[in-house]
Amino acid sequence: MGKLVKKFIIAEITKLTESINQTINDKFSLTQILKRLFKGKRTDADDVLQEVFEPVIEEVFVIGEKTGLLIGIYSRGNIADKDMVSGMLTAIKSFAEDAFKKEGQDLEDIKFETFQLSMVNYNSIYIATATSGVITSEFKEKLSDNLNTLAEKILRDRTHLNDENKLNKLIEDILILD
């Protein structure tokens, strides 16, 4: 058993090392060095980390704020019962907000293993996104902008709230394909 675990860890570290080496080689090419001269505040470490552990949006839930009912969804995996998950998310959110309540504060992030679950409240709905990988400040800002755009479109055109397919397409267009 011990040997098997050791073998697995070595194989994984080898893969990771190869990936980091490849990224570093790419990043130190002449073109990349020139690019970096003109870039903003991002460090080389940020660049390498982002390439190796690229952040990915795994799931998006648009949920009724009080009812906990699922209004729209995007999912890369197979969720057994998406309605129950959205209900439980709402219950956990309410529980945490009630247990540690301070006026005007909401539960925003839950982290588990390689996933980060973020929840943003809007009028009558909230949007929960599950992301994997290394979440850089740049990715967070872009996600936040896109979430605001999505919420704005949903709330401006309320037909999205009653048409799951239409809303699912909008989620994909704004958060995934963009």
């Binding site: 009080k66 699922l70 309605d83 129950m84 219950a91 309410s94 009630d98």
Partner: protein, 161 residues
């Protein structure tokens, strides 16, 4: 398909979860209810040719007694209050409990269910009906599967009002 949030409320040990188990089979792990005070189950029912997906929030206790987050009661379309026919303390203050639930949820009506019918004789149930300060809508037994479907059907109908 229409989706509705419905509540199942009542003191600890009255048999709410057993009723839900009878009615639906799919449910989350046991741990959730003791940790955050609610278990959520879903069941699709057909009422008058209309498919309704019920999201049943099985709330442990009431907000007043057991510090259940008030938010659990919000946004619900119907509610069922369950008490234990064999335990007096679960129905003596029923009128106040129902009033509190109506205030928290904003609902006008709450279905009243007396559970564990199998533990009492008909005479004993007759006596309890006289003591309970509100009208009992259903006398159920999750163990013997008596009136379970009927009480949830009424809950579904109320959620559509």
């Amino acid at each position: 398909m229409i989706a509705k949030k419905v509540l199942l409320i009542g003191s600890f040990g009255v048999g709410k979860t057993s009723l839900v188990r009878r009615f639906v089979l799919n449910e989350f792990s046991e741990n959730y209810i003791s940790t955050i005070g609610v278990r959520i189950s879903t069941k699709t029912v057909v009422i008058e040719d209309e498919e309704v997906k019920l999201m049943i929030w099985d709330v442990a206790g009431t907000s007043k007694e057991e510090n259940v987050p008030k938010a659990y009661f919000l946004g619900s379309s119907a509610a069922m209050y369950v008490f234990d026919l064999s335990r007096e303390e679960t129905y003596l203050n029923l009128d106040k409990e129902i009033e509190s639930i109506k205030n928290l949820s904003g609902l006008d009506e709450v279905i009243i269910v007396g559970n564990k019918r199998d533990l009492l004789s008909d005479d004993e149930i007759f006596e309890i009906r006289k003591i309970v300060p509100v009208t009992i809508d259903f006398i159920t037994s999750a163990k013997e599967n008596a009136n379970v479907e009927g009480s949830f059907n009424l809950l579904t109908q109320q959620s559509l009002k």
